[in-house]
């Protein structure tokens, strides 16, 4: 067990050591690449002053709202599209074209529709977060073993119980891939969305601290973002494990 953790952390520690040594040795200017020790100090200072929490909480709110909207709309849509062939055939062209459009390049359009404020930022996050969810849900439904559906039907099950007992459980693994991609994506898009027209948030702070040459603080915010992404990913992995276990028990 211990050895496993040791193995997992080798790369991380090597990375931290190189990061610490590069500015210390003078190969890269310390003014612009703060070593992790200084970043850690800045992080502690930002936590104590409460400033970090202000920015993190507003960022989390935005990311979560965008992600939640994507979950509420795209999972049902995904099931519909996966199940009703005609529905997919009609909408597929539009969706394939839309999903090629980067959410950031649409930012000016969202600004035009929603103005500067929370809604346009959430819209950008929603736009980025919806595709992995939609596509993976469709995939999940389509990958259901046809034999299972046929046998359920031959045993007299109606559509609703087929959906509940067959389609839903077997599409869960793919659904969770979608959830994980979408959740981490909403954090990635968030940062960029906050760099324009914002007055708070982690993305705003990164830009603001960069312009003010508060480089350790800037890296501290970047580290916080990475940690948020990690936590999101691993919590979903954990939930998935619980869910799949429950599924196996029936």
């Amino acid at each position: 067990m211990l050895y496993k953790y040791f193995k997992k952390s080798i790369a991380l520690f090597t990375f931290l050591i190189i990061w610490e040594l590069l500015p210390a040795s003078g190969i890269i200017s310390k003014t612009f690449l703060s070593p992790p020790s200084e970043v850690f100090q800045a992080l502690v200072k930002l936590i104590i002053s409460g400033e970090l929490w202000i920015h993190t909480s507003i960022s989390l709110q935005r990311a979560f709202t965008g992600f939640a909207l994507a979950v509420i709309t795209m999972i049902p849509l995904g099931f519909l599209m996966g199940w009703y062939r005609a529905f997919e055939e009609i909408s597929d062209g539009l969706i394939q074209a839309m999903r090629q459009v980067s959410s950031l390049s649409l930012f000016p359009v969202f600004l035009l529709f929603f103005g500067i404020g929370e809604i346009s930022k959430i819209a950008v996050i929603f736009w980025g977060a919806q595709w992995p969810l939609l596509l993976n849900t469709i995939n999940g439904v389509k990958s259901v073993d046809l034999l299972l559906i046929k046998s359920a039907r031959s045993m007299g099950s109606n559509d609703i119980s087929i959906f509940r007992k067959v389609i839903l459980p077997s599409s869960i693994p793919s659904l969770f891939i979608g959830l994980r991609l979408s959740a981490t994506h909403s954090i990635l898009v968030l940062v960029a969305a906050e760099m324009i027209g914002a007055t708070s948030g982690l993305g705003y702070s990164i830009k603001n601290w960069e312009f003010n040459f508060m480089i350790p603080e800037m890296y501290a915010a970047i580290v916080v973002l990475a940690v948020l992404g990690l936590i999101t990913n691993y919590s979903l992995v954990w939930i998935e494990k619980k869910t799949v276990k429950w599924k196996e028990e029936i």
């Binding site: 090597t14 200017s29 003014t31 324009i196 007055t199 312009f211 003010n212």
Partner: protein, 339 residues
């Protein structure tokens, strides 16, 4: 397993050595270039919307033994500072507040001349400005007190536009908490669409917006800070220390070029347009150039810098008396300077 770890460690060590080696190679070969044939190359970043005094100097043949080489565009002062301080380029220009912030945080740079400013004496028409704060013609905003709760767009925070806005507010007994300062690109679009209430565009963007009509000037930076050289042309302290004679000649040529531009407005405007076009600039924008706006001989004054130090002290970014203007600039390489 253990062998694998050993191999991994070995690979990483080799990688570090290789990278360090490459970096060193690059540095030494660069120095070789400098000594060869006694021609020094000074590298810089510059956007196609501005002209630098040394670009004039080069065109006018004032630079002897110095070859200037433009590496590309930059997004603004902070990027220019990072590039010069890390040795990626040799000369840059930026608003004072960024130069001060960077130096306080350890970037070893120093300003040696004025690249652009608000001096009426070298400005061709009307009062000089870098930025104008514009509202729509029919806007209800007529004075500072109308700005309460309004959205003001600037290109960067922590620089010229932010502090001039705050100076304007504080002169009217308001603070930045009374307004919403936002970082936004494309000022013309967002103002005309009504996304923000005030924009603070720079340079030729202003002429373009005013030519488009239906906008009104709320105030200009000249109204607020007066005759200031609001930017510094800087080099890294290392470069200055290693090449004092090169720097002296470079500053002298830049100063002479700025003086020439002041005395020959029409030819200077043509030359500026030519330089901007060569950098891939917009021909519409190039014709709006109105002069460097620097003082005679591109000299700098303590008051140019002190204004920004005062603001940073007010903001708690440094202590009163901790820094003086001469920590950030020097006129000693300017042969016209009579200290």
């Amino acid at each position: 397993m253990k062998n694998k770890i050993k191999i991994l460690v070995a690979v990483i060590v080799i990688a570090i050595i290789a990278v360090a080696g490459c970096l060193n190679d690059e540095k030494s070969s660069k120095n070789d270039n400098k000594t060869k044939e006694n021609v020094v190359t000074i590298r810089y970043l510059s956007s196609s919307a501005v002209v630098e005094p040394y670009e004039f100097a080069s065109e006018l043949g004032y630079l002897k033994g110095i070859n200037i080489s433009r590496l590309g565009s930059n997004t603004g002062g902070p990027e220019d500072i990072m590039s010069v301080a890390t040795g990626s380029s040799d000369v840059g220009h930026s608003a004072w507040v960024s130069i001060i912030n960077a130096k306080v945080r350890g970037a070893e740079i120093k300003a040696i001349a004025g690249p652009m400013g608000n001096s009426p004496e070298s400005w061709y028409e009307g009062t000089p400005y870098l930025s104008k704060w514009l509202v729509l013609e029919n806007s209800s905003i007529r004075s500072a007190k109308d700005l309460k709760g309004k959205k003001i767009a600037v290109h960067t925070l922590g620089a010229h536009a932010e502090y001039v806005t705050r100076e304007y507010l504080s002169k009217n007994n308001m603070s930045k908490d009374d307004v919403e300062l936002l970082v936004m690109p494309r000022h013309e679009e967002i103002l005309r669409q009504g996304l923000v209430d005030v924009v603070a565009p720079v340079g030729a963007q202003i002429d373009k917006m005013e030519a488009g009509g239906e906008v009104r000037v709320l105030f200009t930076d000249y109204d607020i800070i007066g005759n200031q050289t609001h930017c510094g042309m800087f080099m890294s302290e290392k470069f200055i220390k290693e090449n004092p004679e090169v720097v002296r000649h470079f500053v002298e040529a830049s100063a002479k070029a700025a003086d020439w531009a002041k005395d020959h407005p029409e030819e200077a405007q043509e030359l500026a347009a030519k330089i901007m076009m060569a950098k891939g600039g917009n021909p519409e924008m190039a014709k709006y150039w109105k002069g460097f706006g620097v003082r005679e001989h591109a000299l700098l004054l303590d008051s140019d810098v002190q204004f920004w130090i005062d603001w940073l002290v007010k903001d708690g970014r440094m202590n009163e008396g901790q820094y003086k203007p001469s920590d950030f600039y020097t006129n000693e390489f300017n042969p016209f300077f009579k200290g």
